[in-house]
Amino acid sequence: MKSYLKTTAGVVLSATMATASYGATVNVGELQGFTGPLESMIGAMSGGANLAVTEANASGKYLQGTINVIQGDSVCIDAAVAIAQAEKMVNDDNVMAIMGPNCSGNTGAVITNVLVPNGIVSISPSATSPALTTLEDGGWFFRTAPSDARQGPVLASIAMARGQTDMAVTHSNSDYGKGLADAFVTAYEAMGGTVTVMAGHDDDKADYSADVAALSAGGSATLAILGYADTGGRGIIAASEDTGAFSDYVFGDGMISEVTSSAVGDGSWGTLPSPDAALGENWKAVAAAGGVDGSGVYSAESYDAMALIILASQAAGSTDRAAIQAQVLNVANAPGIQCHAGKLAECLKFISGGLVVDYVGATGVEMDAGGTANGSYAEREVIGGAFTDVKIHK
């Protein structure tokens, strides 16, 4: 909270200073779940977003004026509240774009009811549902967090590259497990892999021997476990090791944990969303200098979401909502001069100087045509009983 206050104070301070020199004020919305199920994470997320604003204002290189953040509470679980807050930002505060919202459910509602009818951009740092990819958003919605569905194809391509052409798949009976399994199996089969059995498992059972017996009946010696390391996944591994049903395992991000690596033999592997190490270190340093908790979940994605709005507006040379929309992917993606977190001043200068930039930011932002960050995934292999990064997949 202290660091959050500090950032907010910094925003206000720099805002007043910059106002003196430019006069014009530009509103940008920050629609986050300040209360509700994500409230414990929002301190660091809001800190990240406001850090980008502070940086831009302090640089004096943003040409449209001084950025003023209009905060709104999306409460995360009540779509009506989120819509009302977004409407207020769009119509009363005349924001140029919105950073947020957070939760997949009310993000969908805001897209349909506010973004599309009003024609305004929003960039969410944390809505990861695959369903948002196919939702009709008119191109107004972007996100700096990768979709859960993205990990499936990454897993599938690594498996094929490792020559694992057949496996049984088990997933946790949850939205996460089911979504990831569907994405994985679709991609894997398209690449020529064979799924011998696919079955869900319930978490928090004591006994998984029947599940494992059924999975092994397909004949493959490899098992992909897309679930949770501390509950169902752990039970599946225990039952499999007891009966010798499988010798190799493939893991989704929920399984990457010491509990898992200590239970299986070397050579099993999995993937975990993770920027490459250098970017991570850079973000932590930038965040710490700005008084923000850089290890907070989605704090880096929040910084990137806000920075992209500012850079897109700079590239558009205006605060016009449609002009901003047209520039988001241009600044987010290659080619161009790479801009990292903490270097917004430089980046703003490049853009106003007519150069093309590729915003890398805190997380290595690179978006697909639908406006969802590709994210990068670490391929981790169990070596000597511990998960070790062997490669970063972009």
């Binding site: 059995v197 869900g200 928090d204 021997s209 017996a213 059924a214 009946a217 397909g218 004949g219």
Partner: protein, 344 residues
């Protein structure tokens, strides 16, 4: 996998995934079912608290064995949990006798003989017991087995026999089957040969006559609870060693245990054991996918492409229900002609 018919590998596969697991699961159920049948014969009610009592006994074992491990009081390679059973047994017996004093004795005194009153009281005890376990150990699953996990593992078996399919024989399976045999032998000896056992049988057959002939009813009840404590603690510990401990899982065990008791004939110890193995084998045989097994046995042209699984594993508990319904419809007394539960 070879194209020819391969009976040995098929048998090894079935042993590893069906026969050994069902034998040990059946033994665990049998011990729990014997406890239920004992309570039913002597105290005349169906003890719904059985599953949660097993969780309580296992909790004691987990706590005591944890302490023993921290003190280094272990035998290399041997599960400490088994060493902790005698102490846990004392705690379990105290708890059951306390519950009898606080709850069940009252209904005996006012001569409420209906099964339904005992059942209702035991449901109350079930919730309290389950609550205590969750309060002390939490609701999440945990494993407490230490020592050597396998008598022989799949890899050792394969290296020794050269077969394609391996068989693992877990320490917990070995302990389950051998302890179950010992306990059952003890129970039958006790009931048939000892004076106290004969008194219990007399009390069960005809309570009034037994009382007239000078049998002390309080003693019979206490001995019954001691036996129940013995079976409950050991059944719970063996199940936990074999499959892991989770309070909810133990609570749900009530269903297969009751199915076993009723299938075998309630009040009949032999029936409880037979029923337990019937339920265990049905659950595992019906949910196993036979694809690999059939591939070993059938010529190439007849290899199945589907999994050949009769029922999904998530319906495991439904099998107990179905068995219960069938037995109650066709032979309400059970295979070994136990008593009919009719509310009296």
């Amino acid at each position: 996998m070879s194209d020819s018919i391969d009976i040995i590998n098929a048998f090894a596969l079935l042993t590893n995934f069906v026969i050994l697991p069902a034998l040990s699961y059946g033994s665990q159920l049998a011990l729990g079912a014997l406890a239920v049948t004992l309570v039913y014969s002597i105290l005349r009610f169906s003890n719904f608290a059985q599953g949660d009592s097993m969780a309580f006994g296992t909790m004691l074992v987990i706590l005591i064995s944890g302490y023993m491990i921290s003190k280094g009081w272990t035998i290399t390679g041997f599960p400490t949990a088994i060493l902790a059973i005698p102490l846990a047994l004392i705690g379990m017996a105290i708890y059951l006798l306390l519950m009898d004093r606080l709850v069940y004795r009252h209904y005996r005194k006012i001569k409420a003989k209906q099964n339904i009153i005992g059942i209702t009281a035991s449901i109350g005890v079930m919730f309290i017991t389950g609550g205590i376990v969750r309060f002390i150990l939490g609701a999440s699953a945990q494993r407490f087995g230490d020592g050597e996990r396998f008598i022989f593992s799949v890899r050792e078996f394969k290296a020794f026999t050269g077969l394609e399919q391996g068989i693992a024989f877990k320490t917990s399976q070995f302990l389950t089957i051998s302890l179950a045999i010992l306990l059952v032998a003890f129970l039958f000896y006790f009931l048939q040969k000892t004076k106290t056992g004969k008194a219990m049988r007399a009390y069960s057959d005809n309570t009034e006559l037994a009382l007239l002939s000078g049998i002390d009813p309080d003693k019979v009840v206490q001995i019954t609870w001691l036996l129940v404590a013995l079976f409950t603690t050991i059944a719970g510990t063996l199940y936990g060693l074999d499959k892991g401990f989770a309070p909810q899982q133990y609570h749900l065990l009530l269903l297969p245990i009751f199915a076993s008791v009723i299938v075998g004939g309630i009040g009949s110890p032999i029936g409880a054991i037979a029923g337990a193995f019937l339920v265990a084998f049905s659950e595992i045989l019906l949910t196993y996918a036979y694809k690999k097994f059939l591939i070993y046995l059938l010529p190439l042209s007849m290899h199945p492409s589907s999994l050949v699984q009769l029922i999904g594993t998530e319906y495991k508990y439904a099998i107990s229900f179905v068995i219960l319904v069938i037995v109650l419809l066709i032979r309400p007394t059970g295979i070994f002609k136990g008593k009919v539960i009719d509310g009296e």
